[in-house]
């Protein structure tokens, strides 16, 4: 599913890459940027966390001119006198203006690096509102955001991811090169698909998806144990011949209450002892009237 997502988000799509301190999702983000550039899309990056140099590092190629980096890294809070783009300018009008300034008629793909930076300064409701307006606005075709899930409360992460059409959570894999991606994709019909894939990167940021991880992690291949015959190689005979086996199976075990025994007990056969009882006057003992003199 990762390869499908890399091939293109649908219009109006919102993809979130969730990472943590143990594994950075920026590399995957760059893969998405790379894929979009190769598809001849205009990509606008709102760069808060890393510098332009660092983001463009490794993304070579003729299509790099389609990548527009909006510098929100050097002064995101307006601490100097002429900031390029501050975090407070992150609203639907501000971003739309920014995108329309440099883009051609085709709607662009907006990449936000990172949503966590914005969420730290602008509250989740405002961020969600802006994202929703941008999706509907039309200036932006698709949005890809990087979110550091361990920097926010679960509720915040949940609310922002709820708006996304796809969420990829990355984590370190078993081997050094590999990483695990847990993907949740919501289609327009409402169907939710989930998948887990192991992937790694090639030099040019293309993603190589390996096999799905097995449920039990490192599964040991169990060799089939050949059943050993315990009755072989003995000095005495433990085997049964056919007649012996038949007799064994026919044998009724002494304390097992089988159906035959039950019928034998209930219906006594002919010739067996019978008990005849005639109640004696002395035997007629009424517990409640021992002297038999109550007129009841």
């Amino acid at each position: 599913m990762l390869t499908e997502l890399l091939q293109g988000t649908d219009a109006g799509g919102f993809l979130i890459i969730q990472d943590s301190a143990s594994y950075s999702g920026r590399h995957l983000l760059k893969s998405f940027i790379n894929a979009a550039l190769h598809r001849e899309e205009a990509v606008h990056v709102l760069g808060f966390e890393v510098s332009e140099e660092e983001l463009k590092d490794g993304l070579i190629g003729a299509s790099i001119h389609r990548l527009h980096f909006h510098n929100a890294y050097t002064d995101p809070l307006g601490w100097t006198h002429n900031p390029a783009f501050t975090v407070h300018q992150f609203c639907s009008e501000g971003v739309t203006q920014l995108v329309k300034q440099t883009s051609q008629s085709k709607p662009a793909t907006l990449v936000i690096d990172s949503l966590s930076w914005i969420l730290r300064h602008v509250g989740p409701p405002a961020v969600c509102k802006t994202l929703q307006q941008l999706r509907k606005g039309g200036a932006v075709r698709a949005i890809i955001g990087l979110l550091h899930a361990d920097m926010h409360q679960r509720g915040t992460v949940g609310s922002v991811c709820h708006m996304a059409t796809s969420v990829i959570t990355v984590a370190p894999g078993m081997k050094g090169d590999e990483a695990v991606a847990k993907i949740t994709k919501r289609s327009k019909s409402g169907k939710v698909m989930q998948d887990e894939e192991i992937f790694s990167f090639k030099e040019d940021f293309t993603v190589v998806v390996q096999n799905r991880p097995s449920q039990l992690g490192l599964k040991q291949t169990e060799t089939e144990e050949r059943e050993t015959d315990p009755t072989a190689n003995l000095t005495f005979n433990l085997r049964l011949s056919d007649t012996e086996r038949e007799a064994k199976e026919k044998l009724a075990l002494p304390f097992v209450f089988s159906k035959e025994k039950k019928t034998a007990l209930l219906h006594s056969g002919r010739g067996s002892g019978r008990i005849l009882y005639e109640p004696d006057a002395n035997d007629d003992y009424d517990q409640e009237d021992p002297d038999d003199d109550l007129d009841v």
Partner: protein, 280 residues
């Protein structure tokens, strides 16, 4: 090639050794959990001074004399470096006196102004760092030329204790990174400390854990110092987990490495787990 510069005495286990080349534009986070990583700060301080870099030291927890005494043991004279202009030292403890005990003849810098109102944030501290770091570019005639700038911060967690919010500290470290690494092509080394066990979930939002996670996201190399999981040992003082977050240019895939260390009088030695000289 090398991004890890500590002195390896039993270094046969490591492929990284000191190279003549110093990387620039890197942020290194030194952190500890229930341990004391300040020996790494002393190490980096003396290392960069010896490598003839211009060092800017933001010392918030100890006095200048403390660092000077330790550096003397490591073979570097801080007073001399300061005189030559190689080292610029902000003594946080001394500066904070001018805020805490205001006097009329107050010519102190605005660096520690956040102590007055921690909610305001660290913008003034950043401006102080920026102005002195930028002004160091304009040297007097005949002054020595130094290598790339290094900003050392000891330490960021104390700012949390002083009432500054986690967000403000993260903003401050971001701006330091933007100025020193990207603009001035220098390096940044920061120390952040943690007291408790590693917590899961969204319990304490304004804690040292969140700060540590936020700083980890910002940096390219983390050195996490912890005690040995098995307990106290006389010959091995603890372990350092080195984690490379950004991929190296050569596609180096190793992301994490664990070393054990021992702090001596004259520095620290690092070795692969199980290869301590006491054991071999």
């Amino acid at each position: 090639m090398v991004t890890m510069e500590p002195i390896f005495t039993d270094s046969s286990a490591h492929p990284e050794r000191l190279s003549g080349q110093l990387h620039t534009g890197r942020v290194r986070l030194v952190s500890d959990r229930q341990s004391d990583a300040s020996f790494l700060i002393h190490h980096f301080l003396s290392f960069y001074l010896r490598a003839r870099c211009k060092v800017w030291f933001l010392g918030l927890v100890q006095s200048f004399n403390h660092y000077s005494a330790v550096s003397q043991r490591l073979g570097v004279s801080l007073a001399q470096a300061k005189e030559k202009g190689q080292l610029v030292f902000l003594e946080g403890l001394k500066e904070s006196l001018s805020v805490l005990i205001p006097q009329d003849t107050n010519t102190g810098s605005k660096a520690m102004d956040f102590l007055r109102d921690p909610a305001v944030g660290l913008k003034s501290l950043y401006e102080f760092v920026r102005s002195s770091v930028s002004s160091s570019g304009s040297r007097a005639e005949g002054a020595e030329e130094w290598g790339p700038l290094v900003l050392l911060v000891d330490d960021l967690s104390v700012l949390l204790s002083l009432g500054v919010s986690v967000g403000a500290v993260l903003d401050f470290s971001h701006y330091c990174r933007a100025t020193v690494c990207s603009e001035l092509q220098g390096n940044v080394v920061m120390l952040a400390r943690c007291d408790g066990e590693e917590e899961e979930g969204d319990g304490d939002d304004e804690g040292s854990e969140t700060l540590l996670k936020g700083l980890t996201h910002q940096c390219s190399l983390t050195l996490h110092v912890q005690g040995l999981p098995t307990g106290f040992c006389r010959d091995i003082h603890g372990q350092v987990e080195v984690c490379w977050r950004r991929r190296q240019g050569d596609g180096q895939s190793t992301q994490k490495k664990l070393f054990q260390y021992k702090v001596h009088d004259k520095g620290a030695s690092f070795f692969a787990p199980g290869t301590s000289s006491a054991v071999l």
